[in-house]
Symmetry: C2
Subunit: 407 residues, 2 copies
Amino acid sequence: MRRGTNLPRMGDFNQSVILEAIRRSGEGLSRIELVDATGLSAQTITNITRRLLDEGFIAEAGRTISGPGKPRVTLRLVAESRFSVGVHLDPAVITFVLLDMSGAVVRRTVERVHDRDPRRIVDLMAETIDALIDGAGVDRGLVAGVGVAAPGPLDAQRGTVLDPPKLQGWHRVPLRSVLAEATGFEVTLEKDTTAAAVGELWTGAGATRGSFLFVYLGTGLGVAVVRDGDAITGSSHNFGEIGHIIVDPDGPPCACGSRGCVEVVCTPQAIVERAEAAGIWTEDPVPGDGVVEERFTQLCERAAAGEPPAVDVLRGSAGHLAILIAALTNVLDVDRVVLGGPFWSRLADVYLREIPEPLNRRSATRELRMLTVEGTVVGDDVGAVGAACVVLDAVLTPRASDLYLED
Amino acid sequence: MRRGTNLPRMGDFNQSVILEAIRRSGEGLSRIELVDATGLSAQTITNITRRLLDEGFIAEAGRTISGPGKPRVTLRLVAESRFSVGVHLDPAVITFVLLDMSGAVVRRTVERVHDRDPRRIVDLMAETIDALIDGAGVDRGLVAGVGVAAPGPLDAQRGTVLDPPKLQGWHRVPLRSVLAEATGFEVTLEKDTTAAAVGELWTGAGATRGSFLFVYLGTGLGVAVVRDGDAITGSSHNFGEIGHIIVDPDGPPCACGSRGCVEVVCTPQAIVERAEAAGIWTEDPVPGDGVVEERFTQLCERAAAGEPPAVDVLRGSAGHLAILIAALTNVLDVDRVVLGGPFWSRLADVYLREIPEPLNRRSATRELRMLTVEGTVVGDDVGAVGAACVVLDAVLTPRASDLYLED
């Protein structure tokens, strides 16, 4: 059953709306401009901005005189009024960022992981988070919480990382509770791809209207969808698993029993294997932890230098990704496509050139509109930044669903 | 920018919440039970139910004495206080239903279409709608509107049916405006698959929480998703196009340039072609309009009778549909799967037996939960019933987004 709403809920909601409007304006807004932006009455704006000033979330930032009458006071966000920590747990590397309330990165650090033991990794995470906050000289009391972006599948209710295929040695690790205990902060666990999309949403301009598909290119591939300013989490926070969608009927066999799945065609490892089969390298690789990433980088550099076999391999993988993206945009009916994740920057040139045409050719709505394809605005740290944004988002973003009275 | 909310918006929203609670209760609710169900105060319930009584949407349905104190008055929906018309435009047949406000079918009629000319089809639709309302003896003033379910892609803003591959002779037909003019009613145009999911939502029990994937098996296949009581329409009302997702790497070539797409593997026509290739029929079909449907029905009957080659063909097509559904549930992260549409009832036995196991084997969240697979509760008219429900839904269902102040 849907629940009703009442005045206190309405007040909290309107407060979030006003704070979001001020945050997104960048330069700040006057009370009159807030009336325009939110549709709320001048009286409501006056009451709520007084509360936000008292709590230190916003400050008066100067007066503007425009025509006769009282000068307008600009209200701007106090970025350093709250902070959040974002952690991106990747199989090879853990990235940590400290964000202020404007979404700006105050401090970042990266730890390479050679240990597979979850307990020692949690200890490392807790120490690094402490060092990050202390190093920035930030009062711990102003940190709203820690967001962790982890590969799926997750048990979001229990805050547990299940059996992520790319995290060997991790099996039902109750990451949320053990990290909360180790750090003393509230911890939010989110899927890496969803967190990255929230990061894109928070730092990208004008993202509160319309929708986009976020394609995350990491060690594994995943997607997320943002509609009208909210990332879709799905019913169990496991939205966006795409590993076994078939994109190449002539592709290699997959462990799932099928052939040509994303997992064996589109991942960095699959692309490197295809390049090896195409004879890009004459010698065998030296076995080791980072060999796939190293060869992947070499492949992208050779393609950038114009070497035809390298260009062909990346073009082919762009074609397969276009088939995947078309399948997803046809199902999900979004306005645009954003590509990102740790491997994105190396692929950007070729993919931005090669994907739009076949994607739009395959689009079910090609008679109606063109789908645009863009690269992320956040950069390679999008997972960690996104995880920190998930925390800020929960605190700051107005959600109509927050209006419902509780059961 | 997100907009604020105010008291009048809140009042309208709470009225919808109360009406929905009464409608979904079936037997009716007392004012005290409404306080429980909605979380609203007794005073708010009293004020709003008075308004609903005055407007004739609800009525007092008797008194219950339970313990000491005043007897409780049960408030129930007046089903005949409003009606809506639903039209399902299928390539072969147009189905019309008249629904009352409880979602019950008051009257239905079916017209076979031999004409391809859109103008003559619109005239036929208008005449049939008039006859439907008159035949039921319903006052036209109580009809809230006409919903039309049509195959995609649609231009929802213009109310135009674009180039549906299965509707020959239809090209950018402004169906919403011409049918509104021909009938005098407000017309809502919705994709057939989305409308069907709304029908399932309205008539199915307990569907306002959780999420389901609705798989529509018609002349073409499509899907819809319902989350927390709302069908997802996508950004252009074209959510759920799945025709070119690859499900069989060994399948036949598709016009899109790929191989083994849903379009050439899972549609009734594709299944009949596979059965013909398997030698199910010794003679060639007599060419004609209904030949695919006829042979499809024969195939299902033979499978039901246990003929091994027919059973094999349907089992194979269930296997392909399981691959499609797994791809979609892994992306969309829903709680359950509901199958329906005009071809569903003939496939139900085999598909309900064959799909759950391979689907759950391929589920990314199999460590977390089992996905259930159910057949529709609405029956073969789900498209038309759904179209009528889209109209009722727009009038009656509380939506948090309705709380936002307008630009």
